[in-house]
């Protein structure tokens, strides 16, 4: 069996990629996808620890994370569509008018 550091390392790399994606992109859809990438890297860590500890609790966490991701995507994409309808454009930098 491989040392668990391999899997955790891969998970960390994917998480970093997702974080960078959120920071460098301005397209809300791609930012959303980067968030999904981060969630999935956490899932990978959960599953690998679950395998190495021989306990299935990690699987439950992944299950719940998937549900949360689905809910988040439904609402998030709804917001993006609503913004697009009212402004005809979506750029994250322009969406600061709610700061008052």
């Amino acid at each position: 069996m491989l040392p668990i550091t391999y899997y955790v390392g891969l998970s960390a790399m994917l998480f970093t990629i997702g974080a960078v994606g959120v920071l460098i992109r301005r397209n809300p859809i791609i930012m959303f996808m980067s968030i999904e990438l981060m969630l999935n890297s956490a899932n990978l860590a959960f599953i690998s620890f679950s395998r190495y500890l021989n306990r299935m609790d990690g699987h439950i966490f992944v299950f719940i994370i998937m549900t949360v991701a689905a809910a988040e995507v439904a609402v998030g994409l709804g917001i993006i569509v609503a913004i697009f309808k009212s402004r005809g454009d979506v750029n994250v930098d322009d969406l600061s008018e709610m700061k008052g």
């Binding site: 790399m13 460098i24 917001i79």
Partner: protein
């Protein structure tokens, strides 16, 4: 080179490269496809890690439902044009982000190098590990409350998206 290492290297390469492709793709539709590739690589990882049920769920939920939703929205809004690059108010943010990413990775390397993440030694896995029955048993006994809370969350999300999508009466 053992089979597990071989699988890890190949799948890890696919996952990392497609992940980088997601955040660098010009066209959101291409980004969606790279992300689907990434999810497939992760599903394969779950299979290697004896999480059969979660691997199928990964394909069913992420690739089959969530990403199709993404694709749908990208196509409805036709967000494929280069809407960013033109007016980026914070051009410096990119470089700071990359620098911070390097710091994060160095930090992880330091932790991994210090040996504080020990590989646990567990006994042989039961044959039913990762199948639907133990997951269901756990979900409906020990984790009943989180499960119910999640279902309420889904309900709220459903109501929320309907409210957002509804046309105003006026």
């Amino acid at each position: 080179m053992s089979f597990e290492l071989f699988a890890f290297v190949i799948l890890g390469l696919v996952a990392v490269v497609s992940g980088i492709a997601v955040i660098t793709a010009k066209n959101p539709i291409h980004a969606v496809m790279y992300l689907v590739t990434n999810f497939f690589a992760l599903a394969m990882f779950y299979l290697v890690l004896a999480a059969q049920f979660i691997a199928f769920l990964q394909i069913l939920v992420y690739a089959g439902a969530i990403m199709v939703l993404f694709l749908f929205v990208v196509m409805i809004l036709n967000l494929t044009g280069a809407i960013e690059s033109v007016r980026d108010k914070l051009p410096a943010q990119k470089w700071i982000a990359v620098a911070l990413a390097v710091v994060l990775m160095l930090e992880f390397a330091a932790i991994a190098g210090s040996g504080s993440i020990a590989t646990p030694r567990a006994g042989a896995l039961a044959e039913s590990f990762g199948t639907s029955k133990p997951i269901g048993l756990l979900l409906y006994s020990q984790y009943l409350l989180p499960f119910e809370v999640t279902s309420v969350l889904l309900l709220i999300a459903m109501v929320g998206s309907i409210v957002l999508a509804r046309r105003r009466e006026d």
